[in-house]
Subunit: 259 residues, 2 copies
DNA sequence: GAGTGGTCTAGACCACCAA
DNA sequence: TGGTGGTCTAGACCACTCC
């Protein structure tokens, strides 16, 4: 019971990549060369290469060969990024500032939709399913590369108190600051982290191929009275992003919140 | 320029799965049946099925067919799970309690190692590379299924003040509570979230196949004086886990922490 | 033993990219 | 134009699972 040939191809190439024989950005030998080297049919070599593709280690491009992926991560500081004193979370400055701070060039595509609440959104916002919500959706780029998407749902009652939420334009001072000015302050957040492989739609939006998962950050903001103001889902390309928090327990109450 | 056959197979089956024709847990028709239905070679059908495998939608098993994966997520409440008043994060009760609270059966495999600090660990703990650290490593199961791994590194100075950290046994009252009792309180945390495909080692430990990413939570705990006490990396199976936080801004200082 | 997926071959032709 | 990956075929034999 020996190791299958295609696994030998995958393991052999993986260890060479790890050893730096093929550094990030380098090209692997062609499939036809590898099939001679490993004395295997081209399809078998392809099967081995495919293992590394789905591991996120290499990416093929037609006509050019297989390239070793680099895995430098852009770090988003969530503590700084979303912060009541700076006051912004979606459309405007905080995100772009954070990107520019890293010496990169930000760009966003933005749209607003009126949507009935899905089961999930309704549960997060504690509203009836099919009640209306405003969706503010944003596709974000860094240096021209699709980076993440952000979808924020606002319940109808927020829209009636803060009508500019429903307008299909950026809110210059930032949505959070705008809401704050109307007395809709977010005092508590409920965050959820998860990961999965992208859906075909996400793969198209974020222009990712096989082997690249997405990192999903879901944040619901509540008033001090515990009413949900908004629910934001940010979907990051997992190969390009990590997110950091700083948490200081010195000022949190001893009991914490019951959920 | 029509859609490739294997994509038609993948898209056709995906939409049937989404529509509930093949609900979670159901088996797909066999490759040989599908190759008749789509009038394609078996290899072509396999290529299409492989797309769905790497999307995490289905899982093959030899001799039994392709099964539609279910995607129920176990939710870990990080606010409750790791908390100074309850006081535990690694070996003992908090994790097991959290699992039992959900009506599931927890189990852990545990080991302790003496390790030179890697570049990454050294940076997080602000110690010299190759200086000694204690690694407390834990592989966690829920209902007998591998669920997550947790690796905590402690710098040498902590070990000299809290020698039981280096003993290859559980610390009954919990490591955090034990450290607290010695005046080594964690007052500030630096968390990082990321995702990627598992390494071959991780795939073996967590028994995951292709198409399942891992969710990585890295937490470094600091004393009130800002000295790093420990660095914990928790690696979750992405198909089984999500993690929630509750954040209350009412008691945090206005400025936040500089990073 | 019958049926399933897993591995592998040898070849064909197409689409894309660079020189 | 020549080399690269992308798609596809038809068939072989193996390993595993369940009856």
């Amino acid at each position: 019971m020996r190791k299958p040939l295609y696994r030998q191809v995958a393991d052999g190439l993986r260890s060479e990549i790890d050893a730096g024989v093929y550094p990030p950005g380098a090209s692997l030998p062609s499939e036809r060369e590898l099939s001679i080297r490993f004395d295997a049919a081209r399809n078998t070599v392809r099967q081995g290469l495919n293992v590394l593709v789905t591991e996120g280690l290499i990416a093929p491009s037609q006509g050019r060969g297989y390239e070793v992926r680099s895995h430098d991560l852009f770090t988003l500081d969530a503590s700084r990024f979303e912060n009541l004193t700076l006051g912004e979370d979606q459309d405007g400055d905080a995100y772009s500032d954070e990107v520019r701070r890293a010496g990169r060039r930000p760009h966003q595509e933005f749209r607003v939709e009126l949507q009935p609440a899905s089961d999930e959104v309704a549960a997060r916002l504690s509203v009836d399913v099919t009640s209306s919500t405003i969706l503010r959706f944003c596709l974000r780029y860094v240096d021209g590369v699709p980076w993440s998407t952000q979808a924020t749902h606002y319940p109808a009652w927020v829209v009636s108190e803060a009508p500019r939420i429903a307008e299909p334009q950026d809110i210059d001072e930032g949505t959070t600051r705008y809401l704050n000015g109307l007395g809709l302050e977010q005092m508590r957040y409920h965050d959820t982290w998860s990961t999965r492989m992208p859906t075909p739609t996400e793969a198209r939006e974020l222009q990712v191929g096989p082997g690249v998962p997405v990192l999903i950050w879901s944040r619901t903001g509540f008033t001090s009275a515990g009413r949900a103001i908004r629910s934001t889902v940010t979907t990051f390309r997992g190969d390009l992003n990590q997110v950091t928090y700083d948490i200081d327990t010195r000022h949190t109450p001893p009991g914490g919140d019951a959920q």
